[in-house]
């Protein structure tokens, strides 16, 4: 019987996005005769009760669950947490007869990795609480460089197209795929496989700020970028 690997993409975007891109790359490395892979985009699955049931059913029969999500404020985003809660509640009602495994890929737009580690810690504790076997986490920083500016179909975008900036990311995901194939925990030097871009943080900030300025020019909003449309607290407190 084929090993079943289910990728749950936790991005609020309906399709595409970096979580999708990174998860798809890992699945592609598994594409062989002994492994069956499936992608579930939780933003689509949570749109109806029927699709949600289908998702939890697929998760219940998986040998490996792989979560791939963007880092929102040092945590998986709300949609991912909601999905994790639903799967957990399903497990409690109908415990699986096999030892299922969990791996997580967390990606973030900042160049630092500390907040990615916190989000992965939440996934690790989730595995512990639900009885899944924790197989490791990959944290990938600076994913803004992966954005496809060609305007093409998001499904045809790939990590390979991102060139040298994505080289270390692919290496980490290859290790993730090797762990799934060998049924072993992810090989890491620290607690997690944390990947930074091959450029210094200041350069990333500089490139990012220039890109934002160019985008603002396109939308004619350069003069309004720092506006404060909402009222701030009155000056009464704190004294």
């Amino acid at each position: 019987m084929k090993k079943k690997v289910v990728l749950l993409v936790g991005s609020p975007k309906l399709e595409g996005g970096n979580s999708d891109l990174l998860g798809r790359y890992l699945l592609k490395q598994l594409d062989n005769e002994t492994i069956e892979t499936q992608i579930i985009r939780v933003s689509q699955a949570l749109q109806s009760a029927e699709k949600t049931r289908e998702m939890t059913k697929k998760a219940a029969t998986a040998d490996w669950l792989v979560l791939s999500f963007p880092n929102y404020m040092s945590s998986p985003p709300a949609l991912m947490i909601e999905t994790m809660d639903l799967i957990y509640s399903d497990f409690q009602k109908t415990p699986s007869d096999k030892q299922q495994k969990l791996m997580a890929i967390c990606s973030g737009g900042y160049p630092g990795t500390a907040s990615l580690e916190t989000a992965l810690e939440i996934c690790r504790l989730y595995a512990k609480e639900t009885g899944l076997r924790w197989m490791g986490g990959i944290g990938i920083a600076g994913t803004a460089v992966l954005e496809d500016k060609s305007g093409g179909d998001p499904a045809s975008h790939s990590l390979e197209k991102a060139g040298f900036m994505a080289k270390k990311m692919m290496k980490a995901l290859d290790l993730g795929a090797a762990a799934v194939i060998k049924e072993e925990p992810l090989a890491t030097t620290g607690r997690y496989q944390l990947i930074k871009l091959p450029i210094p943080d200041w350069m990333y900030a500089m490139i990012g700020n220039r890109t934002f300025q160019a985008m603002a020019k396109e939308h004619n909003s350069q003069e309004r970028l720092f506006e404060k449309p909402y009222a701030e607290p009155s000056q009464l407190y704190p004294e």
Partner: protein
């Protein structure tokens, strides 16, 4: 002082109600004005992270009008935001996550180094202080450590004038809860 009190419980939860009521009572005794919001009862779409509020409509969320807009306005104008959440695997509930996820419009498209990490610059000059409270059924050092780390990193991103965090356990007596609530409010300058 204007206080926004967020109840992030997953469902009707008596313990979360008790803790929120305690915050409300003590704050009102101190003469503060409290706006409570029960997040699970609010219509709030998920932030797609497409940065439209950065570039196209600076500072204004582009999602269709929902309770998330009301939350953002109230959050921005408050002197203090108190968020009460069950501790889920060391993190926040999905409801509280959904509320904090909507804060992209509160930062501007300019990266800068703060507290040793590159972050986006904060849009507003005067920000509310923050209190995060985790509700837990029992002692769990690992979950508490991750929760503390998560709150600390959120505080470092929001840059509040003052912040505090606590874990309140279901086994705590009513007096213990009141003491903890008073301690947290004192830490952010809302209790004498």
């Amino acid at each position: 002082m204007e206080i926004l009190l967020l109840n992030g419980a997953d469902e009707q939860d008596e313990f979360a109600e008790v803790v929120c009521r305690c915050f409300e009572e003590i704050s009102e005794e101190m003469g503060h004005e409290v706006t409570p919001m029960v997040l699970r009862n609010m219509e709030m779409a998920d932030c797609p992270g497409d940065y439209e509020c950065f570039i196209k409509t600076p500072g204004l969320c582009t999602l269709a009008e929902d309770d998330g807009h009301r939350l953002l306005q109230q959050w921005t104008k408050s002197h203090l935001v108190i968020a009460v959440t069950p501790v889920h695997y060391g993190g926040f509930s999905a409801h509280l996550n959904r509320a904090t996820d909507r804060h992209l419009s509160g930062i501007v498209p300019h990266l800068e180094k703060r507290n040793g990490e590159v972050h986006f610059k904060i849009r507003y000059d005067r920000l509310p202080s923050l209190v995060f409270v985790g509700l837990a059924a029992e002692d769990d050092e690992e979950k508490e450590a991750v929760f503390r780390r998560l709150v600390k990193e959120n505080a470092s991103m929001f840059e509040p004038p003052a912040w505090a965090m606590g874990i309140i356990k279901e086994t705590m007596a009513r007096e213990g809860i009141a003491d903890e609530v008073a301690r947290l409010l004192q830490k952010v300058g809302a209790h004498q």
